[in-house]
Every structure is written in C-alpha cells, then in structure tokens.
C-alpha cells in the first residue's frame, strides 16, 4: 500500500506465532497510517485486511462490551478496541502488541482461555434462587443493587486473570475474574447458597491464593476491583454461619416491598 498520504505513520510491533509452523514467537513490524480517531483495533484491522491476512486476533463488538479483544499492549493488558492508537505510541511512534501473558498461544494474538473458563465454571457462576419464587420479582433495594454494580459489569475479558502472577505460577488458582463472579453471587440477596459458596472459596486455591498483587485492578478495562471483592470474601468466609443466617432472614422478605426511608 503505497498511496501517497498526508497522514503520519505509526509502527506497530506485533508478536507473531503459529505453533504449527513456528518454533517460537517472533516480533514483526507493520506501518499504518495514523488517521485521526484510529484505535489500536482499527490498526490491527488495517494490517489484517490489507497487509497480512494471516495476522490473527479476536474482536467483535468494538466498543468494550464483549470482552474479545483483551491484549498485552506496551506491557499492559487492555482492550484494544477503545484504545486510541495515538495515545499508545512511544516517542518513536511505536506500539508493541503481544497476546495476553501466562496463557497458551493459539495463534498470534489469540490465546487459549480454557483455564479461565474452567475456573469461571468452578465457582458456579449462576444464581441459585430460593426454593419458592414469588409471582412477581424478588424485591431488592437500590442499595443492594448498587453493591452488585461493582461486579455485574465484568465482561469476562481475561485482562485481570492474565495479569496476575499467581495465575502465571498455577492454573489451579480460581483467579480474580471468577472470584469477582463469586462475589456477585454471594452478595446477591436472592442467592440461596452463599454459605456453600463461601465454603468452596475458602480453600487454598480460592481467596487465600491471592497475594494482593493488584495487577487485576490495574488491568481491568471496566474499572472493577477484584482485589476488594477477594478481601471481602475472605472476611465473609470467616463469619460464614452468621452471614448465612442473615441471608436466610433476608430471604423471608424477598417478596415484600422495601420500606421507605
């Protein structure tokens, strides 16, 4: 593509690897035009569609809601679809993109998230509602909902998971994403099994495996705070019985209007 252009160019360094043909990963450089408003994902697309169709990465929604496009950009995990390319360039106009760390590479920027999903399944991500359901909705106060906001917007992108060195050391760790999900369920007044959940999380691969490294917070594109969720779960696990009892009490009133204050 040698169209004369008025736009400056950016150098995109990408880690390439196809395990079927390559012995080990290598870096490759591409040049893209730095048009205004271009995101890092746009740049990858430009390369894929016009320079090297074999460049492989995941994407779908392109506005930070589907969780496909988490990658390791300039040493940090983030979503590339809402990252302005201009802001990610160093002084020499370069950006370095690698796949998410600590996960097996399938091809180029696509990683194998199997362990990530296994851990997600392990915390039983679904709600276990109480035995009898009301005719209409369960009543929840806006405050109870607000307490869940800090977990319900997780898009399962894996940026946190693959930034955590403990995950790098052992795939047995449940991981920040799944613990955050567990937190969502445990905190939900409609969940009938918080005690059993806390007991499950209480093991060595659960809340006690977190070493408070904080990478997960830094990496999260949705500004969530898995560390705090883990700290909270640890404390709740300590007083599991009382918490369970309070939940049973709360569930007696799930079909009643929240009293005005």
């Amino acid at each position: 593509m040698s169209n004369p252009s008025t736009h400056p160019t950016a150098t995109v360094r990408i880690q390439r690897f196809n395990p079927e043909t390559d012995a080990k990963p290598h870096m490759q450089e591409f040049q893209v035009e730095l048009k205004p408003g271009v995101t890092v994902l746009d740049a990858l697309h430009e390369i894929k569609t016009h320079q090297d169709g074999s460049l492989t990465f995941r994407r779908s929604c392109r506005h930070a809601i589907c969780g496909s496009c988490a990658m390791h950009v300039n040493g940090k995990n983030e979503l590339v679809c809402n990252a302005p390319l201009k802001d990610r360039l160093d002084r020499n106009g370069r950006i370095t993109i690698r796949p998410l760390p600590y996960l097996p590479i399938i091809k180029d920027l696509v990683v194998d998230r199997s362990s990530f999903w296994e851990q997600y399944l392990r915390v039983k991500p679904w709600l276990m509602p109480p035995a009898d359901t009301p005719e209409k909705e369960f009543r929840m106060s806006p405050e109870e909902v607000a307490a869940l906001n800090s977990a319900e917007t997780c898009i399962m992108c894996g940026a946190c998971y693959s930034s955590c060195q403990i995950v790098g050391l052992t795939k047995e760790y449940i991981g920040p994403h799944a613990l955050l999900k567990a937190f969502l369920r445990v905190m939900d007044p409609r969940d009938a099994i918080p005690g059993a959940r806390l007991a499950d999380l209480d093991g060595a691969d659960g809340v006690y495996r977190c070493r408070t490294i904080f990478n997960c917070i830094d990496a999260c594109p949705k500004n969530l705070n898995p560390t705090l969720a883990i700290e909270t779960l640890r404390k709740l696990a300590q007083k599991r019985e009382a918490f369970e009892q309070a939940r049973i009490e709360r569930q007696k009133h799930l079909d009643e209007p929240i009293p005005a204050r």
């Binding site: 408070t212 904080f214 830094d218």
Partner: protein, 115 residues
C-alpha cells in the same frame, strides 16, 4: 512477564522472605553452637563477623526491613480494604524502608570501618 509496581512489590517480598528463611536457619546454627561451648560459639561468631558478613548484614537488614514494612502494607489492605492508594502505598513502603535501612545500616558500616 507482567511487570508493574504490584509485581515488583510481590517479587521483592517473596525474595526477601525466602532469603530470610535461609538466614534464619543459619542463625539458629550459629547461636546453637552455644551448646558446644564458648569456644565453638566464639569461633562461629568470629566467622560471621568478618567484613564480608558485615556487608551481608546490611543486606539482611534491608531484606528484613522491606519485608516487614511491605508485609504491614499488605495487612493494612486486608484489614481496611483500601485499594485506591495501592501505588502510593508501595512507594511509601520503599521510602520508609530506605530510611530505616540507612538509619540501621550506617552504624553497621561505621563499626565495620572502625574495626
């Protein structure tokens, strides 16, 4: 490798922790020689009082101080749930540790130099 202040603090804490375990058992061995009588004890003590060991002692001090101060930081996070100031807290740990190591290290070095 995912480097970040969080990682650095963790790696240092872990490294110093392991170093301290190694030191602890050495220490027990040295002090334990008291069972073997004053001569053996003085001998072992003299062995570990060579200048090289004095320098190592500064390193040991740094390790203990960093590990302890960072350990306190982690526990503060546990018990208060403060996560917003994670970066500044880490820099504070580095600053406090440095000060303590200087305060404690200077006498050791002076002692070493003076013989």
């Amino acid at each position: 490798m995912y480097t970040s202040s969080g990682f650095i603090s963790f790696a240092l804490r872990r490294l110093t922790g392991v170093a301290l375990v190694v030191y602890l058992f050495m220490h027990l061995w040295v002090i334990g020689s008291v069972n073997a009588g004053p001569e053996a004890f003085d001998a072992r003590l003299a062995f570990v009082q060579q200048p090289l060991f004095k320098l190592l002692e500064v390193a040991l001090l740094a390790a203990v101080v960093y590990h302890a101060v960072d350990g306190i930081r982690i526990m503060v996070v546990h018990y208060t749930g403060i996560t917003e100031y994670r970066k500044s807290m880490f820099y504070a740990v580095l600053a406090v540790s440095t000060l303590l190591v200087i305060a404690g290290g200077v006498p050791i070095i002076r002692f070493m130099l003076e013989g």
